[in-house]
Subunit: 319 residues, 2 copies
Amino acid sequence: MGPVARRPEDRLDRLGERELVRRIVAALGAACPPAPRGPGSDCAALETAGERRYRIATVDGVLLGRHFDLSTPAEAAGRKLVHRNLSDLAAAGARPSDGLLTLVAGGDLSAEWLEAFARGAGAAATDAGLEIVGGDVARGPDGHLAAHLAVTGFAHRVLARQGARAGDALLVTGALGGSRLGRHLAFAARLAEGEWLCGQAAVTACTDLSDGLAADLPGLLGTLGATIDLAALPVSDAARRLAASDGVPAEEHAWRDGEDHELLFAVEPGMADWVESAFRAAFPATPLTRLGVVERDGGVRDKQGRAPTGGGFSHFGPG
Amino acid sequence: MGPVARRPEDRLDRLGERELVRRIVAALGAACPPAPRGPGSDCAALETAGERRYRIATVDGVLLGRHFDLSTPAEAAGRKLVHRNLSDLAAAGARPSDGLLTLVAGGDLSAEWLEAFARGAGAAATDAGLEIVGGDVARGPDGHLAAHLAVTGFAHRVLARQGARAGDALLVTGALGGSRLGRHLAFAARLAEGEWLCGQAAVTACTDLSDGLAADLPGLLGTLGATIDLAALPVSDAARRLAASDGVPAEEHAWRDGEDHELLFAVEPGMADWVESAFRAAFPATPLTRLGVVERDGGVRDKQGRAPTGGGFSHFGPG
C-alpha cells in the first residue's frame, strides 16, 4: 500500500472532509482525547495552572488557490492567516498568546512576496497581542504555497462549540454572506466579543462561522435541532450585491456562504434577553441578531416549517 | 507582485533556507520576540504558572518525497512525524503534553494510507504521553502530502540551543551517520535523556542533530567556535556500511549526514566529568561521547588543526 490511491473509492477526493477527519481521529486512537481537551470544537481547551485556567489551542491555514489567489496582496493573505486563527480563539473566548508559523512553498515562489506575506501576518499578530514564537519552512511542489499557524490563547473557562441545550436562544454577530467580495480578506476576528461572551456563564456554546451558517449551525447543535427565523437572517450588503449579479437570493448567500468569521452562540433561555442587551451596550458597533431557538429534535427548520437546503464548504469532495 | 517569482534572483530555491527564515523573522517584526521566547532554538520557551515553569513549543513536519517516499510504510512515516517533534522537545528537556496535526494532501492520495499514517502517529504519541488535541486537513496538489505537528511540552527551566560558553565541554549521545539506511524512520527521540540533562544546571546548551553535526554544531556555537576531536566521532554501523558502498569515509558520514536525532550538548568545564559519569549511570544503554571543547574564536577546528569541510542539509537551494 502506497500513499497514492489505486482504487477510486480510496481517493481522498471521494471521501469528504468530515469523513476523513473522522477516520484520522479514529486512527489516532488513544492519543486523541475527548473534547473539550481533544478535537471537536474550534479549539482544544487544556487545563493550566495560570490565572486564566485554560490553555486554548488550534491550527488553521491558508492555501494559494483556495483561501487567496495570485491577485491577492501578500500582506492581506498574511493578515488573513492570522485572523482565521484569531477567529477560532475568539469563539473559545480566549485571549491570544503565541503562535507557530509553518510554510510549505514551491521553489519557484517569490521571496519578496513571502516577506510581504510575513509582514502582513506579523502586523496583524502584533495588533492582537499574538507573538509568533517559532515555525518551520519546507519546500513543496512548484506553484504551491500553504501557510499554517498553530495558536495558543488563554481563557477563564471552557467555551466550546458543544454545550447548547434545548430551549437556548441562538444569536449571531455581524451580517452574513458574500464574503468572497472582499470580507474574506478584510474581516477582523471578534476577539473582544468572544472574551466578553466567555465571561457570561449563561452562554452555553459558541463557534465561529468559517464554513457558512448552513454548515456551522449543525456543528454547534450536534444531535439537537433548531428552529430558525430565516426571514430574520442578517444579510450583508455584499450578499445583496452578489445576489444582484448571480441571481441567487441574498438570504441564500447569508445562509450558505463561508468565511463570515462571525460568532454564533447559544444562551440559556432565561438569560437571553439580558445577554442580548448587555452585549449591545458593550459592543454598540457590532450587529447582533436573535436567530432562533435550540430544539430537542434534530434538524434545522425555518419558523415557517421549511427545512433550509443544506450545504456549506468542504475541503474534500462531497460531505 | 504575485506569489510566483518573476526574476530568477527572487526565487525561493535561490535563497537558501537560513536566509529565507532570516527574512521571514525580520518581516514578522515586533510579532517575533527574541529567544528563548521566540525563534532561534529547537523550541520556544514560554513562562507559565505551572510547577514546570516553562511551556515549550515547536513545530516540524514530514513531506512525501523528502522525509519519506512511496515505499515507506505509512505507520513508520506517521511515527517519524511524531518523533521528529519529540526530538525537539527532548533537546529542550521538555516532557511532551499535546500536539496539533496538520495535513495537506492531494485528492489522489489514499485514505487507507493516511489512516495507517495516523495510526502510526497516534501510537507513537501515546507511547510518549503526547495527546493529539486538534488539527486541520486541506487539499493540496495531486501527489503532494505534507504533515506537520505543532507540539507543546513543559520544562523546569529554559534549556536552549544558545547558552554555551568558551571552555564548555561538548558531548553527543548515540552514534552518528548513515541514518538514511533506516534510522531516519526508526529513531526514538531521546526524551528521558533530555529531561535528565535539563535537570543538570551545568548543562548550558542542547540541540538535537536533525541537519547533521556539521550544520547543527555551528547552530549551537553561534559566534563561538570549537575544537573537535574528529577521530573520536561516534561513527554508526550504518555510516560504515554506507561508506563501504559509496566510498565516502564513514567519519564524513558521521560528520555530515542529517536525521541522527541525537542530542548535542555543552557542559560547564568543572562539571563535565561529573555530568558524563552521572549520565552513563542513568542511561547505561545510551552511548555518550566527549567531542571537544567550545572556543572563544569562531569556526570549528579539528584537534589536528584541520577545518572540517562544511555543509549539511538545507531545504531551499544553497546555504
